[in-house]
Structure formats: C-alpha cells, structure tokens
Amino acid sequence: MLEVRDLRVRYVNRSKPAVDGLTFSVAAGEFVLLFGDSASGKSTAMQAVCGMIPHIIPADVSGTVKVDGREFHDPAETAKVVGMVQQDPEAQFCTETVEEEVAFGPENFNVPQPEIRRRIDSALASVGAAHLKDRDLSTLSGGEKQKVAIASMLVLNPKLLILDEPTSSLDPRSVSEVVSAIDQMRRTTGITVIVVEHRLSGFVGMATRVLEMESARLVRDTRAGEPAFAAVRKAAHSVPDYPRIERRQGAAISAEGLAFSIGGKTILDGLCFTIAEGSALALMGENGAGKTTLLRILCGLATPTSGNLTMFGHRIDAARRMDPWILGKDVGLVFQNPNHQIFGETVQQEIGFASENYGNDMASAQSATEDFVKAEGVSRNIHPHCLSFGQKRRVNIASASAHGPKLLMLDEPFAGQDVHNALKIAQQLEKIHRAGRTIIVVTHDLDFARAFCTDALLLRKGRVAAFGNADQVLSENKDLFSKEVP
C-alpha cells in the first residue's frame, strides 16, 4: 500500500534534515501508530507522503514514496489516494456548513451531484456524524469538528488516511468521541490508517503496528503480537514522573457568585470558590465549559456580569472593571498559542518584556534568561521564533513569570507537547511554585493534574461541578474523563 524508500527532507535554510533516510512500508488495512518526540520528523514525513512537501511547503526532498505501487508528482493526483487530516480541524475548514465542507473535495474532482450526496452520507456515517450534516461548522464541539475533518477526507475514498495528532487539543470526552469514530471508520471501511501522536494511550489498543521516530530517523518498528509491541503498550499507559508540590495555607483568590454572560448566553454561572495561596490548581472541564473565560476574568480581560472576586487586595465586580495593566503586575497569563505572545526579537528581550513595560528592576528577568539559556542550551540572542515548539512554550512561561507575578495562569500548556516537553514544563512550574507563586493550569491532562496539582476545579456548563483536593475530585469524577474506546 505505502512504500517509503530512503526519504530525506530538508527545509529551506536549514542545515539538518527534518527526515533523514526514512524507509518503511505499510500493507493495506494496517493501522499504524507513528510516534516520537516533537521535531522528530513525524509530521514532516507524513506531509511528504501526501505531497504537501514540497508542493505547498518548500523543502528539498529525495527518495521515493509509492502509494499503491505508484509515485505521484501532483498533489491533486495524490489527493485521490491519500488524505491527511491536520492537527487543527478548524483551520482546515474553508466553508460554513458540515455538508458543504464534506462536499468540497468531490466538488473539486467534478464528481456528479447525486454521487456527491451519496458520498457525504456515507462518509459522515462512517465516523458516526450523520446527525451533524445540516449543522453550521461554528456550532460544533472540538470532537465534532475533528470528525467532520476526517469525513471530509474520507469522502474522496482515499486508500490511505493520515491523521496528524487528531486529539491534541481535545477534552477527554471529545478524545473518546474521536477515538471511537476512528475505530468505527476503520472497521466499516477497512482503510489503511496512520495516526501521528505524541501520546499513545488513546490509539495503542487498535494499532496493528507502531513506528517510532527520533531525531529524523526511524528507530522502532514493531507489530502487534511481538514482545516489543507489548512493551510499547505498557509504556503508553505509564504516567510521567511529574514533580509533586506541597500545599500551603491562606486564601489567594476568593470568588462569590461569579457570573459572566455575553449576548444573552451564560458562560459562567454563580461560581464560588477559594483558592489557597501557593496552591497549584488544575482548572478542568469540557471544551466550552467556561475555563478560558474564568482565566480572562482573573487577569482583567473580562469583567464579571455579577458576583465578585477578591485577589491580592483587588476586588473585581460588575461595577469595578480592573485594568489588565494593573492586574498584570500580580497575574501572569500564558496563552494557548505560543505565537500569540512572542514580542521580543531575542530570548533576552522576550523574557524581559513585561519587566521593561512595568519599569521593574531587570535583575529577575536577567536571572530568568540565564536559567532558560542554561536549561535549553541556546543563545540569549536567538530569535524566539527559531526555537522548537516545546522551547517556545517554555520561553512563554519564563516571560509571563519573570516580572514576579503572585499568580501564574496557563491555558492548556501541554497541548501538542510530547511527554519529555510536558515533564520539562512541569519542572519549570515546580520551580516557579517554589518561589512562592500560586499556579492555575487549564488542562485536559489527567496524569499531570493528579500528580502535580494540589487542587482541582471542575467546571461543567459554566458551573462548579467539583472543587477540592485534586486526587479526590478526579477520582470522584472518573466517568467524565474516560479516554478508552467504549
């Protein structure tokens, strides 16, 4: 089905190849799990397989890629046999409704209208999304969007489907939905599937084969039934050795009846909680539960519509809008997308950005820069955009905390991060916590929440569903976090 021989890919202006001499083949009907650390070359290899590299993303490519015994040189021809679903489903949508989006591919290939309608129904049904056909894309949940993205590729009847981190930014319920959809699709269509993932636990159960890449090369190739496969399966369910932190006493943040609504829609509804000073809180809940809105209120970017919030001597309520500039001295926020918050031209400027804006003494920023440069082995003058994805995330954390805020909040810092990078982030947070800071982390990572956090606040449809000791909250709400295929 797929034959890759001595594939080498080197991006323009890069000295090292991103994929170096990759050779493997996949038989029809196999379900392959391709894993490895960030920047190990997984996504690059798959983009070369489906022709996006070099036709859309320029790079020097050598070696051969054959699908169904044929080499393809035109991405449109490749599209007939290989479909690739990328990480962010929303960014790949080019229409407005589910039906239009799924129809887009066959329309481009001039498939007759009745056949398009038949294929839409069949593709949506094979991922369990037939009921979504008439919906607007903007009204779908994260899991539903991913199902539609998969259906929009399946509709072209490809022989090989590649899914690049299909669950990286989804909540556990959506992960479960997508994993079941992929399982259903595989069983009904018998299509060959390659899933690229950092974390294996969701897919290892249905994989017939596991490939591992490291530093641009293939380092492991094992099939179900082999002893090495059992070892991978066991490792997939192991928990990273996250640092543990101590709980402290004293209220840092206290909310009473906190509510927020916009355009008549209630996002947060009467939240009451007290977060202890020096605690590490896991803020959890399904996508759309109100987690990000709560973070926005906590740093002054949104004003509650009723109720109040007391934190570090500030009182925030509907009548008292807090200037984010004032709150920013006490509250640091790390946004979800690293690229939204890189302003400096060097790592040193980036980490010192907030201290400079607040006119603080630059000593702590310089010390944070030293720590970062030493830990990552990079120059202080390197442009932050030249760092790897994991390093960018850590530079975000360093720059949001270097000016000494009492509270550091992070919005899904582990999205798209491999286990090693997640561990490094946890170690960085542990160090920040040791300096006496309170930490709030919006996360879907149960292992991290259970191992690292002292407390957990679980939101459901804008209300507090559970709040208290992290271990207890997570154990008592296990059903909400099931990731297994039902």
């Binding site: 983009q47 489906c50 996006m52 036709h55 859309i56 993303i57 991405p75 449109a76 490749t78 599209a79 007939k80 479909g83 690739m84 990328q86 962010d88 960014a91 790949q92 080019c94 229409t95 407005e96 409704t97 039906e99 887009f104 591919g105 329309e107 481009n108 290939f109 001039n110 498939v111 209208q113 398009i116 309608r117 607007d136 903007s138 929009s152 590729m153 072209l156 926005r296 970017l301 984010p324 500039w325 920013g328 509250v331 640091g332 926020l333 946004f335 997308n337 690229n339 939204h340 918050q341 890189i342 302003f343 950005f353 907030a354 804006n357 607040y358 955009h385 720059s399 949001a400 000016h403």
Partner: protein, 253 residues
Amino acid sequence: MPLDNRPSRMNPVTKLAVLVSLSVVVLLLSSEAYVLIFLIAALIAERIFGGGRRAIVRGATMFAIAIFVAQVLFNHSGEELARLWIIGVTTGGIAWGIIIAGKFLTLITMSKTFVSTTRASDLSAALTSAGLSNRAAFMPALAMRYVPVFQLELATVREAQATRGMRLDKSIRGIIRSVRYTTLPMLYVALSKVNTLASSMVGRGFGAFRTRTLLRAWRMTSWDVAVAVVVIALGVVLFFLNSWAPLGLADLL
C-alpha cells in the same frame, strides 16, 4: 451568520451587482439631498435585513461624524453662517461635510447589509455558477470567512500584550509601538493559518480542474432580475436627478 430573509435567498451575484452599481452611483453624487436620500434608504434596508454586528455601523457613524466635524471646521467655502471663536462655519463646509460623511456611511451600511445577507460559501458558488474560475470565485468567500478569524487573533495578541504590561495608548509613539509588537505575532499566526488552509484545500483537489461540480448551483431567477433592474434603475434615476435638478443645503433647510 446571514439571516433567513428574502435578500438572503437572492442570488449573491445579483446582490453584488446591485451593491457595486449603487456604490458607483453614490460615489458620483454631488448633491447633499440625494446623498441623504441614499443614506436613509441604506439605513432602512440595514435595519430591516441587516442584523449581525451593529458595532460596525456604530464605529462607522463615529468616523462619519469626525469627517463631518472636520469639514465644518476647516472647509471655508460658501457663505459664513456662524463664527465659533476664530473658526467660521460656512454653507460649503456643512454641505461637503454631509456629502463626504454621508457617502462614507452609505457605502459602509450597504456593504454591511450585503455581508449580513450573504453566506461566504453561497457567494463563491454563485460566482462559480456565473462563470468565474474556481480560484477567483473562492477568494472573496475566503476573505469574508477569515476577516472575523483574524479580528479574533488580533484581539488575542492585544490581550497578550496587555497582560504583560504593554499600555495601548493612542499617542503616535504608542501606535508605532503597538504596530511593532503586533505585526510579528499576527504574521506568524496568519502564515500558519494560510499554510494549513492551503494544504487542506489542495489536499482535497482544489484547483485540479478549472470547473467544479456545485452541490448548490445558483441561477438567476426572474425575482433576482426584477430586483436588480428596479434597484439599479432607481439609483440611476436619482443620479440623473442629482445632475439635472441638484438639491443643495438651502433646499434642505
């Protein structure tokens, strides 16, 4: 999200033709009375069919008021009506204020009504049905779809700046600083989105053929033709009235 009303169900190409024709007529007007007639008609149409984000019209109104005030204060043509300290308010200043601000507000209001009543996908399908190439037909649709996305991205970048102590003041220095620290993150976010979208579209055969099947093909109905003819004819009549029987400020008063 476009509303479900009669203009929303009209062929987008008809609406586009009406919008472009009326915009040209508005731009050619030279009489303040006719500009006001167009503005009132556009505001009524927007009120009935528009919906969506009123903030756009509110923002444009503020800008139009600023244009009007600037004309009144600094355009000294015509007769002087009053004197505010050392500044004379003249008939010419008021007339040009009405004309320029009125044209601006009319164009914004008509465009907003068009956007509110037209789905981006329908526009591209209608343009393709009208014979435009795939790529050309998809461009305006993608632009319409991505404007709110980039607005949201820009707001996030601004928020990230604010939480790290960057004051967004409105001085020239503040604006230059804001542009400096906004351009790079926006460029990265935009390039990443464009890359993903292009890969997704080409990966589904976009551009493989000059033509494409349309799940929903648009054709010009007699209703479309009638509306287009009547509206454009009215616009042209008003334009000729504007040329042959111009109504000035004095006529209005």
